[in-house]
Amino acid sequence: DEEFKWLLQEEVHAVLKQLQDILKEASHRFTLPTGGSGGAVKQENFVLSTSGTDQVKGVLTLQGDALCQADVNLKMPRNNQLLHFAFREDKQWKLQQIQDARNHVNQAIYLLMNRDVNYQFKTGSEVLKLMDAVMLQLSRARNRLTTPATLTLPEIASSGLTKMFTPALPPDILVNFYINLNKLCLTVYQLHVLQPSTTKNFKPAGGSILHNPGAMFEFGNQRYEVSHVHKVECVVPWLNDALVFFTVSLQLCQQLKDKISVFSSYWNYRPY
């Protein structure tokens, strides 16, 4: 019983402190844009390419949770014609995944902040509830990074992203940016229009992270088929760090929960 008291009064706070430190570290990685006054968030350049072919090459500039510049070079497979697009000066593309992950981490930190050293935990279930809430935020943060949105091709076609480039994207090209684990990914879809007379069986493709050649969809009264897919990616080091922090802190939380549960027989049945 004494041991349990010690656990509640000392050990829990030690773990919480440790958790907070880790999460703050993780949160720093997301470089919260300090609204206006704190100066601009630093920009990072990433070169996205595949080792073998250089059909698609992208140079992306990430500023916090937003892509502020993007240069996409595309070598058309048929005629070896080189296409080049860039973001318009006035446009930024927000990577929702990063923003969400950052917000979830901050929520978790806020939950922990409320219980500072002066706060006394009285029951085990109180700690379990706190841990459950924190873990929920953390696993959501991690899931946001590990599971990109599954989009249908019409959704990609209609997203604001297509309108952000100068020169404007040709109608037979679609692009999509997302985060997958620690990587920043760019996919370029080359399309060809399906003629109404075609004998092919039209079957619209569902939602997917990455569509395969041959996927079909209808957009603006026109039927398309994906002819080529190019995917290039680049590791974002700080995303990697963040993911590691998430995993570590989730494990810490679970360990603390396990420690508390060991003593579950000592809980009084009235929780407070």
Partner: protein, 1045 residues
Amino acid sequence: MKVSVQAVAVWGKIAPSHSITAVMITDDQQTIVTGSQEGQICLWDLSSELKISSKEILFGHTASVTCLAKAREFEKQPYVVSATENGEMCVWNVTSGQCIENAKLPYRHTAIYYYHCSFRMTGEGWLLCCGEYQDVLIIDAKTLGVLHTLSSSQSSDWINCMCIVHSARIQEDSLVAVSVSGVLKVWDLSSSLNSIQERQSVCEKESKSLDCINCRAVRFCTYTERLLLVVSSTCWQVYDYCDFSLLCTEFCKSGQCFAGGEVLAAYRLIIWTEDGHSYIYQLLNSRLSKSIYSADGKVMKETVYPHLLCFTGVKENKSFPFVMGFVNERKEPFYKVLFSGEASGRITLWHVPDVPVSTFDGSPKEIPITATWSIQDNFDKHRSMSEGIIDHLCASRDGIKSAVVSSSVYIPSLDKLVCGCENGRIFVTVGLKTARARLLENISSVKDNLPYKVLNGHSSRVTCLLYPHDKSVRFDPSWLLSGGQDSVVICWDIFTGDILHQFSLQSGPVTELLRSPENYRLKDNNIVCCVCSDHSVAILHLQKRVCLLHARKHLFPVKKIKFDPLENLLIVGCEDDSVYIWEIETGTLERHETGETAKAILTSTEDSEDLMADALLPVSQESKRNKNAGQKHSSSYKHGMVFYNLTHNEKSSDKLTDTSCIYQPFTILPVKTKWTNANFHILLFDLEKLEELLLSSQLNGLKSSNSFHSYDTLERAKSTTEKRVLTLKRIKTAGSISPVDGQVDTVSSNQVCRDNSAARPLEESGGMKRQKKMKSSRKIRMQPSSNIDVNVTTDTAKLLLSCLLPWGVDKEIDNLCVRRLDILMLQCPVSFGLVSNDNHLSLMLPGWKCTDCCVLEECAVINLFSKRVLDLSNKYLAATEGQTGMKDGPENNVYGTKGLETVFFLFSRIALINRIINIPSTITGEIESPQKPEPIYDKWRNVEAGTPSFPSFYGELSSSKSRYHSPDSGSVSLLKLIYCWSDQSIKIIEAMQAVLLAEVQRTMNTLRKTAICREPLAIVENGSEATDTPIGSHICNMYAPTPLI
């Protein structure tokens, strides 16, 4: 989904845990609504003297509640919307506890505001929601579908908090919101109504970055129409709404975090903190600008500085975090109330004076706590109502303190309730009898003779129980498994109470016991999975009594368990989305995968294999329960049908099947909420099923008497049959009259019991037989043996009627019910439940009625749901007056002849009411529409279709009965009346009680009448009968021959 289920909750001494995460007071200041981390919503009565009492608890959500808001104009419809962590939303009627609408969206809301613009808006209004997504969602308040979004053109982010600004000056309703990154945004609402309805994109009108991180509240001062209060966790600020210039800033004390605030009056604010304190400030003008210059510094603006007037605080029992709110009503008799809810489930109220002032010396004054309450307080106050289902057993056993039930399981096929306790004991009792003993008064003999068994084997808390035979017949019906805190799994013989085997796992408390999947064909299938709190999984072979595999490597709680029968693999999915694959044969870990591969493995086995452990963790316990609640009804209903036909065919051949159909109308559902050990139970009565069974049992009874007796003894025989059934109910078995007598005194050693399980109907003892019934048992001699289920059915029906009858309203009625109808009085009021569509359930808490029932003077038990019931029952009497007049004669006979018949009749009445009320709940929207009567008409048809099973024997009687059911003029008026009730959101149980009261009153009147006018006649005609029982000569009168065909 048709709901014909009545639920009665049997709580324990310990209230369900309720860690408040959201709290609100309704506009009429009569109800406090709280949402909890456990996922339940609690309704509290708030009296006009600001006394709090918990009233009802609403089940339905499967995750922590994040926010609550009103969902309609409250005067019109008392609806409240709740949203949860996992995206569920639900609209509740807070007066009846009914779930009106529910939905699950992929959004997690943290704040919801109801917005309705009466003259330009179609529909019921909007719910403006913000949360863990970008910008603001507009959700239809009626359908809970997403209508549109309010989007931002720049720096879009999650919105932390918002408020609706109604400004008469600007003639515009707008939504002011502050994002996570501290950007203040304003959207026009009233002028963008059209574009929202036409789904054009709506962007913000203003967007301004404030220097505040983690904003918790934003409020507009409607008194000055100028000030905007922004509360962040570290400071609060006042802005000028016209140009968003900063007027003042106040930082919080170290160690505190601001949590919210509200404008009290012009230049007066109340701010509260995470730890339950609040501060009332007066904003003072200062031309000398004590605080801050406007940002651009051009003009020295008029600024304000705060002066602390009053504060509130809590002293002890602090538990983080506090969720607070404030209602500011200027209308009399409403109060300004500051309220807070704690993680411990406690609610605290402060009555804030209209004009708060500081003390004379200028220092801030403390406002005292006005009221504080928790659910547990209610449980403590109403001890008798919160008695657990087997508390009386524990009490009767050598006076030990009642043990808390930590896990329980109900076995419908045997009508057995198995309860594992904190102290390691396991009680095995008979479900219905236990419930009767717990709820009813004056049956101490039943209580004392309640058959039960105590299984001793665990040294500490019993954490889980499993009766594997229940769902799959491949397990031996005698096996009962229990897992304990002591990491031991015991396999019991449920009939003898012997320990068959004891598995010692040595890996922490056993958290879950699971049946292996049906299609798993390994070794006779007698395999059970066992999850321990160290996240290990053990596979136990019950037949061979060995532990086949103990997989111990899992770092996170186990979420899914699957079997691969081809390769003999065990696939364990953990909460961190990793997967462990074990070889069962060798016990080795074959693979450990994370991420995408893990997901792929789990989904690939999904279709080919079983999915057994979705509801594995305490987290999903609630959802499991809910699923149970729904499925059990529907499936058991269907099963019941099948079974019932079966038993009809082979009635005489097999008693086992015969009795096994008992379970359909009555079940006990054990419920456990998250983070607690204590269990409580819900008794479920399936009205439809019960009614059906009652009808058919009547039929049976009559057939038997028909076959047994010639015409001239018919009357007499019938009356005895009736009587027999009555008495049978008490003495329970008639099989053995004389041999049983010796057993009457109790045998109460631990393992022994008078177990009249279905499996051993013959050794069923009459231990609970009562001497005074000997007389009537004489008459039982010729009773047919197939009637055991009849007794159980009538018992169940009577138990339900007992719960519903308005005891204590009228002594005479009470007497009538007890003596003549043999419906026993309640020991104390019961907690009723209301099952609404889609597995939402509301349960009354002990002490639910104390604010309502000061009407009645000294009476042992008062079971009146509300004062309204009396009015309602009078209305009902009036509405059905014509009818009664019409068939006064026959009805006299109905009531006159048979007490049991009356019970049946009353029962069919409440079933009918239930049906009528439940129809509009499914087609609420069309109440006015002309086709409304159709479905009801169909319903009536159904009812009629049911009535023919009334034996034609009753001739005239049955016709009067069916006339009662048929849509003639009288019934239509009844229908209208009940419709009108349900429109007034009168609860089903109120309606039922009213109807019962009215019917019983009427019965009593007719009885009196007949007693007076028939007595002499009867004596003349039937003197011998009349002298038979001296207690009540009218009773005998009632048995007098009646003019039947």
